[in-house]
């Protein structure tokens, strides 16, 4: 699972739109994966699972996926797309894109720092 910073447990407090994915508490990991998967267009549950598995190696179990989807939808970070199919697709909202962008930038800063320090102490990869 992608390591995700946990800033505070406002996800636990519930309500309102989170400004950081870390605020989603234990759903931060699945939330990052789902938002990243939806970043290039709407997808329904099965395609989301396959896409996430292909780019992260993590297979989200159905219960976990829908628990995270319902939270993200409740917080306005994603929305359901109208569909005649029983498999309803979801897409990223503008708020979701902002939160994801800020989260990934923070992740990149942590990754860059870690790699620099590793290279300094242990030599380049």
């Amino acid at each position: 699972m992608t390591p995700v910073a946990r800033t505070k447990r406002t996800g636990e407090a519930g309500g309102g739109r989170p400004e950081q994915i870390g605020e989603l508490g234990r759903y931060a990991g699945p939330a990052t994966l789902i938002l990243s998967s939806l970043a290039d267009g709407p997808k329904h549950g099965y395609v989301l699972t396959k896409d996430i598995e292909s780019f992260s190696g993590v297979r989200l179990a159905p219960g976990t996926l829908y628990e995270a989807l319902s939270r993200l939808e409740g917080q306005g970070l994603i929305e359901a797309v109208k569909s005649d199919d029983r498999r309803r697709p979801y897409r990223l909202t503008a708020a979701g894109a902002t939160v994801l962008r800020s989260h990934l930038a923070a992740q990149r800063r942590v990754a860059d720092l870690g790699l620099r320090r590793l290279a300094g102490s242990w030599g380049p990869a």
């Binding site: 159905p62 319902s70 029983r86």
Partner: protein
Amino acid sequence: MNLDRDEALRRSERLLRWYPKEWRSRYGEEFAELLIADICEQPRSWRRNADVAQSGLVARLTGIGLSGHALEPSDQARTSLATLGCAMAVFLVFGVAMWAQLTIGWQWSEPDATATSAGMIAMSAAVLVFFALAVVAVVPIGWTALARLARHRGAGLVRPSLLFLGGLTILIVGGRHFGNGWPGTGGHPWAHQGLVPGGVAAFTWASTLSVSSYWAHPGSLLSFPAAEVAWMAISPLAMICLVVGAAKTIRRLDLSARILHFEAALGVLAAFDMLAFLAGCSSWIIYGDAGPQNLFHVGAIDVAGLVLMVLALAVAYRAVHRARVGLNLLAR
């Protein structure tokens, strides 16, 4: 192993039962499609089943306002307060059953052990506070419900209100009927010699008669008068009607933020009162003795009741916390 779609559909329907109705009506169809695909790919996956069960339980906890999942703030407060009411009802059914047993005992003879006497005094004081809090809590809710019904704007309130009133009436009438028939109370010359008036002791004893270890001893149970056995079966149903009616009324009633704050404050007081009652009850169960004529004997059902009360207190604490979270969000 390849499964046909019908078998996968059957399995997905079974798994969906973990989720509450509201969740199923929103996500059921699409979730079933995902489950069918997953079941066809991995027919025997205990991890998937465990994951669905866990998520379903979280969804159920969310539905009763106990999980960290965000509901709309006003919904969160109302739902959590309704759950608090249910937790308190469970607590009171078992707590009052134990207390009634002790108060009846005290009608005949004072306990020997200080721990039992002190525990009884603490429990009696807590019951009195519970009663006062319940009366104060019901007034604004009842008033709001009546106002809605009077303005013909309480379409969804009629059935739960009737359920509540029906359950309450059956409990009061039945409790008084069977309480009056209990020897040693209700007009008996020894009434009122205990810690609490004999009539009160008998009424609470009769109202909670169903909480009895006799259920585990059918032979002994059948030696009871048929009317008492029937009451032991009917009174829990009346209690359930009362609690469900009250909880549904609270959930459907559009209470003002001021009333919600007031009810949440009462909920905090009630949680402390539950703690005081538990302390008294524990004092009797842990340190008390059987007393004269075995009147204050601690049975397995009392220990089981204590465990259930601790669980109910934990749920009540969580519900109070979640109600306050909803109210804080409402105030923003």
